[in-house]
């Protein structure tokens, strides 16, 4: 291949166009219907709204984690001056911009605080010295204030990344890359702090007595898995639809696969560290949370995490031939997305069982499916809306040529 090839590589479709419009339309419609159905089921059933809010939170966190993973890795690409990833970076920026949608979808949770969080029950706090101690942090007003801050930081960063990058599509000004790099450096620090405390607030405080310092890292590890699974699947899907057929090559899939593999291991490392330390010290304050997850009905969920979130994908993604094979990579990407959903379910639902006593079977039913479809539809619609009028790759990024001709050693 000679030097003029990068230019030829660009000869392809790289906008969503009509597809975007239909995704917005149908995705949005399906999404609303799904959520309304799930909510209706909650209304009909006895105490169903409590269950609905837990199901809602599970799916909310699942999709939020994809966007947060994307936000983090967009920043990391800028700050490390990455070359290989330019052709997939716009997709990450678009996924990250979906935090705006997630901020809107956070509103229903506000109405569900009483169902979700034990510490909002004034009568419970009155009899619980530990909750009284935590009241300066765990109270509704401060909780909502923090949520506003979290979303402000994420939306600010995500829109800045997307806007500046799109601006570069027009002007080709290389100084934009430098500015993005600078903002990313401290932006990542803000990201780390906000994401950690968001995971403390929204997930860890479901059991307000329990605590784990690694929780934020655990949530981050899951988000990274979610991002790379989504991104791999998204790229393959877009190529199937005849877009970006030349820009994204086997080499990029190989790298996405490596990241998916690496974060699958990283997740296992963090999960093991948390589990083993609490198992070993065996203190009543901290083992209750784990006990709820390793006894029926959640035992099988926990075991499925060990085997299907780590062992199987570890061997599945180990070989470079698999990472470089689109169909196999697509399979494992979807697999990991499913397992990431199970992971979030595992974080949230045992607390529902604990609080509302539905012992016997892990709660899963039509409501979960409606809710998942609802969120999925809205998330896809949101993505398509952000993509409207934008190229799916940063067309004038100074490192685009490097990315287009990139090869793994």
């Amino acid at each position: 291949m000679s030097l003029h090839d990068p230019a030829q590589l660009m000869d392809e479709r790289r906008r969503l166009e009509g597809l975007g419009l239909s995704v917005t339309r149908y995705g949005g419609a399906i999404g609303l219907i799904g959520l309304v159905l799930a909510c209706l089921m909650g209304f009909i059933q006895e105490n169903g709204m409590d269950r609905f809010f837990f199901v809602y939170l599970t799916n909310f966190i699942f999709f939020l984690s994809i966007s947060l993973g994307a936000l983090c890795f967009t920043g990391i690409q800028h700050v490390t001056r990455a070359g290989w990833s330019i052709v997939v970076r716009r997709l990450m920026e678009l996924l990250a911009a979906n935090v705006v949608l997630m901020a809107i979808l956070f509103i229903p949770i506000i109405f569900g605080l009483h169902s979700l969080y034990h510490w909002t029950h004034a009568e419970a706090v009155a009899h619980d010295p530990i909750l009284q101690h935590k009241a300066p942090y765990l109270n509704t007003a401060f909780f909502l204030f923090r949520a506003v801050i979290f979303f402000a930081v994420w939306i600010g960063l995500a829109l800045f990344f997307l806007r500046k990058s799109t601006e570069q599509d027009e002007s080709g000004d290389y100084k934009i890359s430098i500015r993005l790099e600078k903002v990313s450096s401290w932006g990542l620090f803000l990201y780390a702090m906000t994401t950690t405390y968001a995971s403390f607030d929204w997930l860890m405080s479901l059991d307000p007595h329990w605590y784990s310092t690694i929780y934020g890292v655990y949530f981050f590890a899951g988000s990274a898995v979610a991002l790379f699974a989504t991104l791999s699947a998204l790229c393959i899907g877009l190529q199937k639809s005849g877009r970006l057929t030349r820009a994204i090559t086997t080499e990029h899939y190989h790298d996405l696969g490596k990241f998916l593999f690496a974060f699958t291991i990283f997740w296992a490392y963090i999960a093991f560290s948390q589990y083993m330390l609490y198992w070993y010290a065996n203190k009543p304050e901290t083992t209750g949370w784990i006990l709820r997850r390793q006894t029926a009905p959640m035992l099988w969920v926990s075991l499925s995490l060990i085997f299907c979130h780590f062992f199987l994908p570890f061997f599945g993604l180990l070989s470079r031939h698999i990472k470089r094979n689109k169909s196999l990579l697509f399979f494992w990407a979807i697999w990991m997305l499913v397992m990431h959903w199970v992971d979030i379910y595992w974080l949230v639902m045992p607390e529902y069982v604990h609080q509302y006593g539905e012992i016997g079977a892990a709660p899963f039913g039509l409501m979960d499916i409606f809710c998942l479809i609802g969120f999925g539809g809205l998330y896809a619609a949101g993505f398509a809306m952000w993509a409207r009028g934008r190229s799916l790759i940063p067309m004038k990024d100074p490192r685009l040529a490097e990315s287009l001709t990139f090869e793994n050693a």
């Binding site: 093991f272 589990y275 083993m276 198992w279 070993y280 065996n282 180990l318 050693a409």
Partner: protein, 180 residues
């Protein structure tokens, strides 16, 4: 060693840049030679293709070693702590899988790493302190800044004249005979 005892080892051609060597390698590959090699001070990207080298089996050997290490570590800890010499410590079960994971991991890595290096040496045939090429004075620069291609006389296609012509057509700095 007297003159008459010397055997022909092969032809050596020298280059002073990467491109020359890779182009020559492609030519030699296409001519169908099998007993030949390139020598360079550093690994050159694209050389595997140019020489038609097949992927090595090292990763598979290492995978087997890793699985062996993993199993051995698990079996060792189980047998020693739960079967042969059970002791009660901090109320843990004799066979405590979570507490066994670190050593399982470490031995997996240890077995794999030792095997990776061992199989590297074995497959490369190292250590091999003498080699006919070391008798060529300018070959010393193969570890410095020069690039060499050698076709061995043991190659079935080796022919004193034709091989020489092929190598001369590669535009190297020089072509010379190497004797053992």
């Amino acid at each position: 060693m007297s003159e008459t005892n010397k055997q022909l080892y092969g032809y050596l051609v020298e280059f002073d840049n990467v491109d020359g060597l890779v182009n020559a390698a492609e030519k030699v590959r296409d001519a169908g030679y099998s007993d030949w090699d390139c020598h360079s001070p550093f690994p050159i990207h694209g050389m595997d293709d140019a020489m038609g080298i097949k992927p090595t089996v090292i990763p598979w050997i290492v995978l087997c070693a890793g699985i062996t290490g993993c199993t051995a570590a698990l079996a060792m800890q189980w047998w020693m702590n739960a079967i042969d010499y059970p002791t009660i410590i901090s109320g843990k079960p004799f066979f405590s899988l979570p507490a066994n994971i670190p050593i399982i991991f470490e031995l997996t890595v240890l077995f794999s790493a030792l095997t990776a290096v061992g199989s590297l040496f074995a497959l490369n045939g190292l250590p091999q302190l003498y080699h006919p090429l070391f008798t060529v004075e300018k070959f010393a620069r193969a570890t410095d800044d020069r690039f060499f291609l050698v076709i061995e006389a043991s190659d079935p296609r080796f022919d004193l004249e034709k091989t020489r012509q092929l190598l001369e057509s590669c535009n190297g700095l020089s072509v010379e005979k190497v004797e053992d």
